[in-house]
Amino acid sequence: MLSLLGGVFLGWSLGANDASNIIGTAVSSKMMRFWPAALLASFFVIVGAVISGQAGIETLKGLTTLSVHQAVITSIAAAVTVTIMTVMALPVSTSQSVVGAILGMGILNNQLNFSGLGKVVLCWVGTPVGAAIIAVLLYRIMGFFYNRIPMTLFNSDHILRLGLILSASYGAYALGANNVANVTGVFVGAGMISVLTAAIIGGISIAFGILTFSRPVMETVGKKIVTLEPFSALVVSLALAMTIHLYTLVGVPVSSSQAVIGGVMGIGIVKGVNTVDISVLKRIFLAWIFTPVVACSVALLISYASRLRYIPL
């Protein structure tokens, strides 16, 4: 079971990082206190992982056949990649780093499922685009009703806050369901654990990341999102949750960071303002290319290094 620690570590870092996308808006804008938000998010992450996490796990499992040794290397390579990309200040996608590492192992095994891989890559491009489209539609539809339903200033405040709490819970559920595959999917592929055990261990490790280390990340990332006014923040939060949930139904793990950026871009399209500038788009594009490439390279390096033997002269 010690070999599972790599996955648990990856889950912890995923929880710490991605919680800012899910509840960062509500917490850093002081609409919710950290602890209730973190507990709520942790609970729904585990629920999402256990109830709907299987489809993503099956997809990752199907990309290639890994041995236990390779599964451990994959999760370590993904975790190292996330760290490298964080140091480079590029938006990190755990999904891309895991898939990149699996690719590396697949190359070594000379066994790759190209149709599954094509589906995953297509969904990476579709994540921000889909989130932007959903955000535009949600803004138009919800805005139509928001402007027409008479409500006092205070009722409007209450509706927005409740909406944020609900969308954050939904987002956490979707995150657990979608991203649990990144954390423990490779171990299922290696035949180490069952899908249900993977979902439980993955969900708990993501929740542990949220509870222990998400606050500083949230304080940094959340403030950037909060420059949106409350209604737009709610739309972005809901668009993020719906996008990730849609990909969960398809069975492809995607990046919540990219979904948030897509949502914000959608708001920018509706409002006709530059909420995301070109440099940010360039960074996302670079991350799309770099993350899987770096993860694949790191996985290959670790794999070669693990085979080195000391031969005395």
Binding site: M31, R33, G143, Y146, N147, T152, L153, F154, L162, P230
Partner: protein
């Protein structure tokens, strides 16, 4: 249904309505005090009414402090929080103008010369009417009810009207050969201060319009 989740917000709402009641008390006492000053300068009733105006102005300040404390205690969404505080701070400048006007009359021992009484009565009547309309506009804003724009237009018209009267009084002060030069300056300052009441009411009224537009998505 979820009111138990928003106890602080409900308290803020109650306090804002309580502030508006106090605001109206200030207007009423100010009106009576000035009527008294015109009819019987330096009488005890004026002093009493000035004290009452001051008392209500202090009460209004206390209410604002409570609202502020609740807001810092994380009531409402930050966006709404800052909107409401901006609105209340701007509105609260009006009681300060009213109180200052009474203090000037009392401590500078000012009496309104007979030739200016009608104009001063007019400017005060229109100013107080604007303030009452403004209080109604704030209520409509909080309740998200229609009619805010027509109130804003009336307040805007009143402000222009008051500006005309203010300029006419000031011109009259400096054309008058009977008034002492020092009194002229003091009286001019009093009229400018009274003129500021509708100016501020107009500013707050337009702020409400901006906040209304800002809330639309």
């Amino acid at each position: 249904m979820f009111s138990f989740l928003f106890k602080k917000d409900t308290r803020v709402e109650e306090l804002i309505y309580s502030y508006l009641d106090t605001f109206r008390q200030i207007l009423e006492n100010f009106d009576k005090a000035l009527a008294c000053c015109i009819a019987r300068p330096r009488c005890e009733e004026f002093d009493f009414l000035m004290e009452r105006t001051h008392k209500y102005e202090s009460m209004a300040d206390d209410i604002l402090d409570k609202v502020n404390n609740l807001m810092f205690g994380k009531a409402l969404i930050p966006d709404f929080r800052s909107d409401i505080m901006n609105l209340l701070i701007s509105l609260d400048k009006i009681p300060n103008h009213l109180e200052r006007t009474l203090f000037m009359i009392r401590y500078q021992r000012l009496e309104i010369p007979g030739e200016f009484v009608n104009d001063v009565e007019d400017i005060i009547r229109i100013s107080l009417e604007s303030c009452e309309l403004l209080a109604q506009q704030v209520e409509l804003f909080l309740k998200d009810k229609s009619g805010r724009r027509s109130l804003m237009s009336t307040i805007d018209r009143n402000e222009s009207h008051c500006d005309h009267i203010e300029r006419r009084i000031i011109a009259g002060i400096f054309e008058s050969g009977e008034l002492e030069p020092f009194f002229k300056l003091q009286f001019k300052e009093l009229i400018v201060n009274i003129g500021d009441i509708t100016d501020q009411a107009d500013r707050v009224s337009k702020l409400i319009n901006i906040l209304t537009l800002k809330r639309r998505v």
